[in-house]
Symmetry: C2
Subunit: 395 residues, 2 copies
């Protein structure tokens, strides 16, 4: 089946086993377009970046790429000059195997920080993956970039534009369990619309804001995060004019939000997804800071895990967020149940709120009542399992 990043026309994938996963499963994915494509990317904001991030940032400047080569099992981060050589070697190997210029290849890695790649095995694997390219390998590719994700993350959709139907697809990896150092997030998105690079960059930035940039498992940014999008025009439909671009951006954002929620749902030890919306903040950015402050507060996340409608912790987290706040105006609804009004508890609300918190996905709406800024953050809870997995040894 043509699914995930292979759903749009002209995209295929191949995978290989290079021996970086103890399970012996595929740990290398090659994703390619059968024709030139526009490309855009967003990268981790961490100041310590893995070698593949440095390489792909340079590669993507030109706004064009036809292939993405990704390994899991080792992040190729903090590996010095050797790491950069290895990332370039992956690019060269993919370009050679696919018969395209090296400038058309992006590279990504995910896994343990600080361990060098078994580069000879990786290069050999790239050759095997290139030999196995097929449009039916979307799920294989999603599996190959998993580290300890409980499930593969892929999504596909289509959107009817004035010029015809366009397909969009994508794969992502989340924060898995057991091997704890894999909390890096990668996503590879594809579409068969024809989109100029500058437009594609704007689309990706906008669609990222409300999806991958709005999620949190543990508030830790990684050295390897990157989201790539390739648009190859195979549908023959061009993204012309603001209205078409808007429709396409909305479809991309919806697909990315789907993938982003899959990542949160699969957060290490996660048992619950919480959608935090702060409204009535002084500004939009302050709403975002407040929403992140609450969503990432360790005590709030523990209460959420326990299904405990502990609104006192939410207020304390809001107060610590560093945004403008009038505590006497704050209102909080947990799963639609009003629990705080005018900064104090709504008496008799505890039982209803506790019941609302039994759902797998819970909306918490916080109204600050001082402005028009709003923002949403999607986050997991914090469970003892998260700590267990992340306390276990790397070696």
């Amino acid at each position: 089946m043509a699914v995930g990043a292979c759903y749009p026309k002209g995209f295929s994938a191949g995978v290989a086993v290079c021996g970086m996963k103890r399970s012996g499963k595929a740990d290398l994915a090659l994703l390619a377009s059968d024709r030139p494509a526009s490309a855009a990317g967003v990268f981790t904001t961490n100041r310590v970046v893995a070698a593949p991030v440095t390489v792909s940032r340079a590669q993507i400047q030109a706004g064009a790429a036809r292939a993405i080569v990704t390994n899991s099992g080792s992040a190729n981060a903090c590996t010095g000059a050797r790491g950069r050589d290895d990332a370039w070697a992956m690019v060269q190997a993919a370009a050679g195997a696919l018969g395209i210029p090296p400038s058309q290849v992006l590279v990504a890695s995910t896994g343990v920080i600080g361990q060098p790649l078994p580069i000879d095995d990786v290069v050999a694997g790239i050759g095997r993956a290139a030999d196995a390219m097929a449009g039916t390998h979307g799920r294989q590719a999603a599996n190959a970039i998993r580290t300890t994700d409980r499930f593969a993350k892929l999504a596909q959709t289509s959107v009817e534009l004035p010029g015809g139907r366009v397909r969009i697809g994508g794969i992502a990896k989340g924060a898995g369990m057991i091997r704890p150092d894999m909390a890096t997030t990668l996503a590879h998105l594809t579409m068969d619309a024809e989109v100029p690079p500058a437009t594609l960059r704007r689309m990706l930035r906008q669609a990222s804001a409300a999806s991958f940039n709005a999620i949190s498992v543990d508030g830790c940014t990684s050295t390897n995060d990157c989201v790539f999008v390739l648009a190859n025009g195979a549908s023959g439909v061009a993204a012309d004019g603001p209205r078409v671009v808007r429709l396409l951006t909305e479809a991309l954002e919806e697909l990315m939000l789907d993938l982003a929620k899959q990542v949160v749902r699969d957060g290490e030890g996660s048992t619950r997804v919480c959608v935090w919306t702060v409204s009535g903040a002084l500004t939009g950015p302050e709403a975002r800071v407040a929403a992140r402050g609450v969503a990432e507060n360790v005590l709030v996340k523990c209460a959420l895990h326990g299904g405990d409608p502990n609104w006192g912790r939410i207020l304390a987290a809001l107060g610590a967020a560093g945004v403008h706040l009038d505590p006497d105006r704050v209102a909080v609804d947990l799963g639609g149940v009003p629990v705080v009004r005018h900064g104090a508890g709504v008496s008799g609300s505890a039982a209803d709120a506790r019941s609302a918190l039994t759902a797998d996905e819970v909306a918490v709406d916080i109204a600050l009542g001082i402005g028009a800024g709003s923002a949403t953050v999607i986050a997991s809870d914090l469970s003892p399992d998260y700590v267990h997995f992340n306390s276990s040894s790397t070696s």
Copy 2:
């Protein structure tokens, strides 16, 4: 024995049971000087503040106070107008019982946010505590302000000044276990030196920076944090001149650091204290931001709990701290073992680092190599127990 906050001359304490602790133990402490005293305080930076914080902030403006009344079991936070009335009622009751003006009384609360105080029981308890005042009740007072702390936190010291010996004492409460909402930190400090209020304020601010403001259990500031210091001059020794003030400040800081470390050691579920020192940052404030960023990083805290020398997470946390950083210059020593040089792992260091991490207290030294800024943060690890306790229900 005259210990803790009753160690300096002229200070006494009394406690009472008001029924706010399920255990039936004392939950109210009255601490008083037998003569007028200078007073200073530092308060939570949270914008949501409990009623007693609002009241004590107003009271301490004058720079004089003779008594501190504290209850545990309920934070009297987010309790609206009733909460403020209750805090003032505690002040009035303590003043009446001790026969001093209400303007001379500070008030503090610690416990669950959002529950109103059983104020009649608290007022009655204040009367009983006043009847029981004695200079030998320092440990009783330290116990009465505990919530679920595993041990009482008290310290005392003396310092020889040119004018004679001065005593300093203090009690604090930490983040206890089991009842999880108690992550509020209070500290009451006393000394029998004679110190003008303005000098005392400066001393407290300075001594707080490297003690209570340098610790972290979970990175969550509370609605109730406050540290008070009273100086009653009962020793007959005045803090005159910069040299004497410096000696006294150093002694106060040492005592506060002792108490602060007790708080971290007793952090909920804590099994290890980690002293994070960042040096070579561009500025002092950046060093502090970097040290906090690493010390409070959830993945780093998990690794510390597991005794896992996972320096990759430390570098990723540094990179996310938002400070100036040249990854290729970073050096990290774990418990004295060099694990990172020039931003990459020191090969063969894992076994030694793992062994160093078995200690109860571990120093991690991070050198950024780009400036002269340095800072230290003392933090606990993150254990599954922390999450267990903080996931359990409030009701």
